[in-house]
Amino acid sequence: MIDFVGKRYWYFLFSAIIIVPGVISLIVFGLKTGIDFKSGTDMTVQFTPNVEQSKLRQELESLGYGDAVIQTTSEGDFLIRLREISTQEKQALTDNLTTALSSNVTIKQFAVVSSSVASQTVRYAVIAVVVAAAGILLYITFAFRKMPNPFRWGTCAVIALVHDILLVLGVFSILGWVAGVQIDALFITGMLTVAGYSVHDTIVVFDRIRENLTKGISKDFEEVVNYSIVQTFTRSLNTSLTVIFVLLGLFLLGGATIHYFTLVLLIGVTTGTYSSICNASQLLIVWNNNEWGRFIGRKPAPAAPARAR
């Protein structure tokens, strides 16, 4: 049988390696927020005939939009982000661009979020995340209420969840300053979905550990966990693969609106599967064997056999 549990500290190290850069980026640069959270204007504009980005930038600067962010979309349109503008300003802007660049302007998508609603979105997003975390924690405690230490199982599942969330946040923080990717309400949606999925996946593995413990297949807790992981491994892999297939389809072909939303899910589902096997279950052992000291590198692991709890 494959030994999944023996290398647990290597998994922890691997997790640290993929998470730490993102966390550093989060602390140093934070996340780039889109208009949903800080108000402003987002517009997707098509020019016929097409114009050069540098010229467009120059023109926007001369019109007083020096801080405009301009990106090109995969369709060759421009995504322009400005401060909040009024109907008149929008009209003046399109008129001026049409004359100055002698090109026809088509506004494919136009969105303005006012500052009062943006601050509210931030507040509601925070509430949603907190309530979701609390709800999931409560649910896990409930789902494992028949186990000797429901709180312990819950905590391990939540640590795995935090692991997944941190990874996604970190990746988007890096994408923010590397590629100008901004986070919006859909990003929050994606994050909460990832949270749900991460727990979904962890519960399947935990469920099997619970079943095997009740069956009493072994007195050694580590062995029970390892056995359970082996039993559920094909399932975990196949499930993730199917979800990843559909997400990859959406990510590669699905269009700009949900491009980064599906990326959130893609990263989240992958790490969600990884963390339920390599973090949540392994942490159960660490906790059970009371290896926390070794975890932070202070004392050797106790040689005593586990108590199968």
Partner: protein, 510 residues
């Protein structure tokens, strides 16, 4: 057992047939629902969220009543656009959400909605000796009270000598606050002195009241029609019809303001104001009008028509803050493009999932694929019949739920394999596989349900239709997937075992 399974099998097939009949063809009409309801990110359209400008001490009951009226008035106005399925909703206590799928002229929509549409009639204020009161009179150093102290309503100053588009534009309100005369704009902010000085020659307009003190406003109208009038019959105007009370007041005013001469004088003018801007100030040249009247002004045919529509829909009980909290418009081409792209991506993704399942689980995978078709048809039927507005993230949510639906099957199949390895018979393994996989399927999906509920709340609170769409489709998708994994896959599988395919099933489990 055999008969029961046969019965369930038939029921599932019937359900599937019903679902397919409901959703095919994709644009067909069933039970009064034509096609799928698509969000404006997929068909193009306008999305607006407005905040109403209530004063601080408005009671919740008053707010709620005013908002309900506000919604129905905006509904009436939007109806003149001929949008197929507009959504106009109250959002929270004091917000209104407007969705116009298929209608992409955001500026026209905003203009139509933002107008309060408050029509009122005013005459000029006269001092004790019968002279017209002007703004400059109020700006004199020693004036501390209204010239006509019977009238305590705010005075309105407009640019009545302005040319072209400047004509009749609002200048200032004057009100007495704590005994001090104060000039403000429509938002209650003070107006600077230079502006006031500039418009010193403008008259002070006060509400035109009937003998019982009731002001003449658009609330007393029963109808408004655009027509061509004037001496040549070529000038666009709006014909108005008063209700009985309005008719009485109008005639009382006519008797009072009647100008027997041919010369224009302000003290014989009846000012017609829409949202504090003067439309026109005609002379009253008849002593009675018997319930009808004409609003003239510098109208085009289109603007006369839109004024008539505005007056018919009535005035908004509470003003909307003039910048929407949230506004979005998606062009029809971008919408269609998004729809085709996401559908194509979804179909490819789902096809790969099906191929993978068949390749890995062979006949079992085939059963799962068949179940997936039933699952898809039922989900889409639910989307169509509720109906659920499908958005781009909503389609993504549905497609992701397909991946999750397969998870239940995978759990069950893996479990069956284990049971077979443990030496059970095929029938026993199938039964055990379902029985034992169920708690995992149930427990694991609850966390997704929790997230969906929270997301729905999050999206619904401030009208983020994309978030809401995703939460709804994912929730329904996962719920149906649990049903399909347990009922559909099991029934198909048991039916299969009873046929000559038993060996095939056996082969694909081992």
């Amino acid at each position: 057992m055999a008969r029961r399974n046969g019965l369930v099998f038939v029921v599932i097939l019937a359900l599937f047939a019903f679902a397919v009949w409901t959703i095919v063809p994709i644009n067909g009409t069933r039970f009064g629902h034509k096609g799928m309801r698509l969000g404006l990110d997929l068909v193009g359209g306008v999305y607006l969220v407005y905040q109403a400008n209530f004063s601080e001490n408005t009671s919740t009951a008053d707010m709620s009543a005013a908002m309900d009226r506000e919604v129905s008035i905006i509904q009436k106005r939007i109806d003149t656009f001929g949008v197929t399925e507009p959504i106009i909703q109250k959002l929270g206590d004091d917000r209104i959400l407007i969705q116009l799928p298929g209608f992409t002229d955001i500026d026209a929509a905003k203009q139509l909605v933002e107008q309060t549409g408050f029509l009122e009639f005013r005459d000029v204020e006269l001092n004790t000796s019968g002279g017209v009161v002007y703004l400059k009179d109020y700006l004199s150093a020693n004036v501390t009270d209204f010239f006509d102290d019977n009238e305590t309503a705010p005075r309105l100053f407009v640019n009545e000598t302005g040319q072209g588009s400047d004509y009749g534009k609002f200048v200032a309100f004057m009100n007495k606050v704590n005994g001090v005369l104060t000039f403000t704009d429509t938002n209650g902010n003070p107006v600077d002195n230079a502006t006031l000085q500039k418009y010193g020659d403008m008259a002070a307009w006060i509400p035109a009241r009937g003998d019982d003190g009731t002001p003449l406003t658009g609330d007393l109208l029963t109808d408004a029609q655009a027509k061509l009038g004037g001496n040549l019959g070529t000038t666009p105007e709006v014909d108005i019809t008063w209700n009985s009370k309005g008719s009485v007041i109008f005639d009382e005013l006519a008797a009072r303001l009647y100008n027997p001469t041919d010369t224009y004088s302000l003290d014989h003018a009846l000012g017609i104001f829409l949202d504090n801007n003067l439309l026109s100030a005609p002379q009253v040249r008849a002593q009675a009008f018997h319930g009808s009247g004409v609003i003239s002004g510098s109208f085009t045919v289109a603007s006369a028509q839109s004024l008539a529509n505005l007056l018919k829909s009535g005035s908004l009980p509470v003003q909307l803050k003039s910048t929407p909290l949230f506004q979005q418009t998606v062009s029809a081409t971008l919408g269609t493009d998004s729809l085709t792209r996401s559908l194509r991506a979804g179909i490819i993704g789902i096809a790969i999932v099906m191929l993978f399942m068949i390749a890995y689980y062979r006949l079992l995978g085939g059963v799962a694929t068949a179940a997936l078709f039933v699952y898809g048809a039922i989900s889409l039927t639910i989307f169509k019949l509720i109906p659920i507005t499908l958005t781009l993230p909503g389609i993504a949510g549905f497609i992701i739920s397909v991946g999750m639906a397969v998870d239940a099957n995978i759990l069950i199949f893996e479990r069956m394999k284990e049971e077979m390895r443990a030496g059970r018979t095929l029938e026993a393994s199938v039964a055990e596989g379902f029985r034992r996989a169920w708690p995992s399927i149930r427990d694991s999906n609850v966390s997704t349900f929790i997230t969906c509920i929270i997301l729905y709340w999050f999206g619904n609170t401030f009208g983020a239709f994309m978030v809401k769409g995703f939460a709804l489709t994912l929730f329904i998708g996962v719920a149906v997937s649990m049903f399909s994994a347990i009922m559909v896959t099991r029934t198909f599988l048991i039916a299969l075992i009873r046929t000559q395919f038993k060996q095939g099933v056996l082969g694909s489990i081992k």
